[in-house]
Amino acid sequence: MLSLDFLDDVRRMNKRQLYYQVLNFGMIVSSALMIWKGLMVVTGSESPIVVVLSGSMEPAFHRGDLLFLTNRVEDPIRVGEIVVFRIEGREIPIVHRVLKIHEKENGDIKFLTKGDNNAVDDRGLYKQGQHWLEKKDVVGRARGSLVN
């Protein structure tokens, strides 16, 4: 007959043990999920860890490096900081440096970005008719990196 030796372990289990194995798997998945959500809550960013996708920030960051982000309200964005932002309508986050900021008294800002390795600023990347980025486009500010 069919030799199912590798399944012998499963066959020897009773209902409880089988349920425990399923639960074990569920626990691993849950723990990973909760740690990710925990990081989201602690850093305030919707994506606390991102990967650098292009070489536009060389020699500071290379493609494949990991970045740790925070997005707390108390820390305002300043010129010269590296921010990760999303352009409206596009999914992929971009990692560039802030060049100029216009700031209102109530804290609203409009800022312009440029990649260190790019020749021109990002206005070409922004949406049609958009000249400045706003706070809502920001995913977070780079706090630390892991070189790949």
Partner: protein, 244 residues
């Protein structure tokens, strides 16, 4: 139902039937073959009597198979009744934790993570942000509870069995099995503890042997050897009971 289908196999076959008194057994055609295979497979699914064979170098598998064999001895030879309270406790904690995690997932999906809003953030208006924090904290507390439960309440115990009083009057005696096998070590320790139902006495005995005593070269568990050791341990405790 099985017999009906089996006899159906005899009658059919490819090609024409032979004449006369001879009964010709034709090979089953494809449909019947699948049916037979299906039933054979199902009956052989539960393999309680097949000798246990594992990878002798895999420490976890060795410990698990020894634990299962010890369980078998107590439950089948001495016919004690397994009590699931300890295991159920752990399953309950794990299930509740998973439910909290799923709740957090659903909550996060319904209330998308608020992007950095200037001003407000913490637990002011009971926003999704705040409740996510609460769910997370609850989950990690559950993890803590689980760790405490496994370390202090369960303590390596893998079987709690009740010895029913034959007269039916006294409360049951409780037998507990626990074991340990250190990583990359070959010494297996089996601990049997006995708790008298009436006098509430508590005794325990243990043995430590190399796993090589119970497994042969190919990784098959030699049940007789193991059963002897476990029974000896059991009888030591039972004997003490009688002399007291």
């Amino acid at each position: 139902e099985v017999r009906g289908q089996m006899s159906g196999v005899r009658g059919q076959g490819s090609g024409g039937a032979a004449g006369g008194d001879e009964e010709v057994i034709r090979p089953p055609d494809r449909e019947n073959r699948l049916l037979i295979l299906n039933q054979f497979f199902w009956f052989q699914w539960r393999i309680d009597e097949k000798p246990v064979k594992i990878d002798k170098w895999d420490g976890a598998a060795v410990k698990n198979s020894l634990d299962d064999a010890a369980k078998k001895v107590l439950l089948e030879k001495f016919e004690y009744v397994e009590n699931f309270c300890l295991v159920d406790g752990r399953l309950m904690i794990c299930t509740v934790s998973c439910l909290f995690a799923m709740l957090a997932l659903v909550w996060d999906y319904l209330h998308p993570f608020p992007e950095s809003r200037p001003g407000l953030v913490l637990c002011g208006s009971g926003s999704g942000f705040c409740s996510l924090t609460r769910l997370l904290i609850t989950y990690f507390i559950m993890m803590g509870i689980l760790t405490l439960y496994t370390s202090y309440k369960e303590k390596n115990i893998f079987l709690v069995a009740l010895q029913k009083d034959p007269a039916g009057m006294d409360p049951d005696h409780v037998w507990q099995l626990s074991s340990s096998l250190k990583r990359f070590d070959d010494l297996y320790t089996l601990r049997v503890s006995f708790s008298d139902g009436k006098t509430k006495n508590w005794r325990e005995a243990e043995f430590t042997k190399s796993v090589a005593v119970f497994f042969d070269d190919s990784g098959t568990l030699v049940m007789d050897q193991f059963e002897k050791s476990v029974s000896k341990l059991h009888d030591t405790l039972a004997m003490e009971k009688k002399t007291k």
